[in-house]
Symmetry: C2
Subunit: 385 residues, 2 copies
């Protein structure tokens, strides 16, 4: 297996893009990624694209072909992968494997979702397809409800509080203020989160990530080739993917995401690093409780101590571990794009290009993407080349 | 890149499975594939699954996780790929690349679609997502209409007749009679096709593949390891995938599928073989005209001479080139499963296990899977190990 690096990135702003279609978002992020890599379209040998539910959001499947078509890259192979909210991360790992394998030298990886063409309730139902339709959504257990169950158990077992969870959102919005692509540019307080109205108790509106349109893209290149090109690059030194029960009822524990632990274990081992080596992390905070579980499952804090770590400011920008400098999913979660956008952020952080939200001396970064309530998890570890 | 072989296959019967859910179909095909390989579940290192539109058919996405879960294979990585009706073929190629690369030694590839949970008109609209939603389906151009345009142009340019197209379906049903898994076990005549009522002129009901439930699976293994296991196996000696314009309006020609030609060119080159070397082919006959275009685009007959070849019986079982001994898509097209089922059929043909539909002395086989009206095509060439 060969070494693989990211040599170019692109990302649209995240938000409600009433005036842009999915293919316009794809073009914007894709062309930006190609331009920053210094390559031209014909250098790209294959495409992997993550998209969760375009069939239900815009009645369009066959997103692989759409990507190649829209970017003027026919007839190269273009493959859509879908793993619910981990679609982007799985696309990244698929692209990574295809270059690591020697199948290709240069590959484009994209992620996209156009979610605002349907009503919020229709979107919630479409997103429910990430869980177990037969035993969960059909009976009314939509995603806030599933994560609420995890939150309740975490509160019960470890004394985690709603205020601690609220701090995840407060911190996300604070970081999002510094990110031009964030869906929100507005600081919020713990009090505002606490009074934002229950969606599924104990989760309130401001504990939840929003409905978002957006796209992100990265260009992957075999590392030796990237080195010869002499452009700023970030090497992917670990990539893990794992699966778990589709339904929450099949899990061994409600307070951890076992697939995250497994994917992280694989990635850490490949990278020959541990949680203490990570300077910056973009993790999957679809709900505030997901943030707390992730900082525990990724090994930054002991199980049950995530809430306290938040309280102590240990995950703020330029603290013990800088969590979600981009603002995370709380500041925009176009599901299929999220995993790729995380890689874009880590790329910019490691190259010192993250502007006002730059993590000082960030040398090693980690991206963590989860599908459903934890049935798929993907972890990538990266360092500046 | 290492050599890759198929060492086990499984397939459900194709039809209207009112009594079976998607996950039951998956389990049936998957377990059968594992059993025929002589392996056990824990030998499998990763899963690739093809599924087109489960979100719209059964409100379930995240099919990768569902596959791992349903087959009891957590926590291995499991990835759904979607490329419309080529989802199965792209899943096969993704699995092939993952073993060829050295990432894994043993991988399961599955394909599934459960289409009968919605009405036929809802299914037609969901399938329309394989084309260009904005410029085609939205304006009423569903798939029979798109293929009807190709048929009209083929008739105009080459004098292809409706009777010649009808022969594709007649031959498919004849072969399907010999396949226990076929959706139909009923011979039909050219006259019956001609009087079956226009769906989109010149295509009639019996020119079209049906709505089908079904699943198929294969187990891939690195070839040297397969050899050591000493079990009957089929080596994949060429694998090509190509993309083209999503919309028919973007194509250079309406009478050929350029992506098929490109994918075949790659696969033939890898295999160091040509059309004349192929003994048996499972090709993508979603509509009768697609059969005629495919035998031309794959190089078996010159462009424009496909219709005549049908008339002369050159594509019948044990003729010049045995086309679709399984009955092809005309005898069942569960879209995400089709590309994998084609590989199952070629496996059985090359190992002499195809029963009454066995192609005599079949040494080299080809599987050809198309997405949409030709925006994705995948070609695999195989030989007995």
């Amino acid at each position: 297996m060969r070494s693989v690096s990211i040599i170019g990135v692109g990302c649209t702003s995240f938000g409600e893009h009433w005036q842009k279609s999915l293919r316009e978002l794809v073009a914007e992020a894709g062309i930006q990624a190609v331009l920053t890599s210094g390559l031209v379209g014909k250098d790209i040998e294959a495409i992997y694209g993550g998209c969760m539910a375009s069939g239900r959001f815009i009645a369009q499947e066959h997103i692989g072909a759409l990507l190649a078509d829209q970017l003027g890259l026919n007839p190269i192979p273009s493959t859509r992968v879908e793993a619910a909210c981990a679609s982007g991360g799985v696309a990244l790992r698929s692209g990574f494997l295809s270059v690591a394998s020697g199948a290709y030298d240069i590959v484009a990886v994209g992620g996209v979702e156009k979610m605002t063409e349907v009503s919020t309730s229709e979107a919630a139902i479409a997103l429910g397809g990430a869980g177990d339709q037969e035993t969960e959504l059909f009976h009314g257990a939509s995603f806030p409800a599933l994560y609420a169950l995890m939150a309740r158990k975490h509160m019960h077992d470890f004394g985690t509080t709603e205020e601690q969870m609220a701090l995840c959102s407060v911190q996300a919005h604070k970081n999002g203020m510094l990110n031009p692509n964030s869906q929100f540019h507005k600081e919020i307080s713990v009090e505002e989160v606490m009074h934002s109205g229950y969606v599924a108790s104990p989760l309130k509106l401001l504990d939840c990530s929003p409905i978002t349109d957006g796209a992100a893209a990265v260009i992957l290149c075999e590392t030796e080739k990237a080195r010869k090109m002499g452009i700023p690059a970030v090497e992917i030194i670990g990539a893990g993917q794992a699966s778990d029960s589709l339904a929450l009822s099949g899990r061994k524990s409600l307070t951890e995401v076992a697939a995250t632990k497994k994917a992280a274990e694989i990635a850490y081992k490949q990278a020959n690093l541990g949680p203490k080596d990570i300077d910056v992390v973009e993790l999957h905070d679809c709900f505030s409780i997901a943030n707390i579980m992730a900082i525990e499952d990724l090994g930054f804090f002991k199980k049950g101590e995530g809430g306290k770590a938040l309280e102590q400011g240990k995950t703020a920008l330029n603290s013990e571990i800088s969590v979600n400098p981009s603002g995370g999913l709380k500041c925009g979660h176009p599901v299929g794009a999220t995993g790729v956008k995380q890689a874009v952020e880590i790329f910019e952080q490691l190259l010192g290009k993250a502007g006002k939200r730059q993590v000082k001396d960030a040398k090693i970064g980690l991206a963590h993407n989860v599908g459903g309530s934890g049935a798929t998890a993907v972890v990538h570890i990266m360092r500046r080349l």
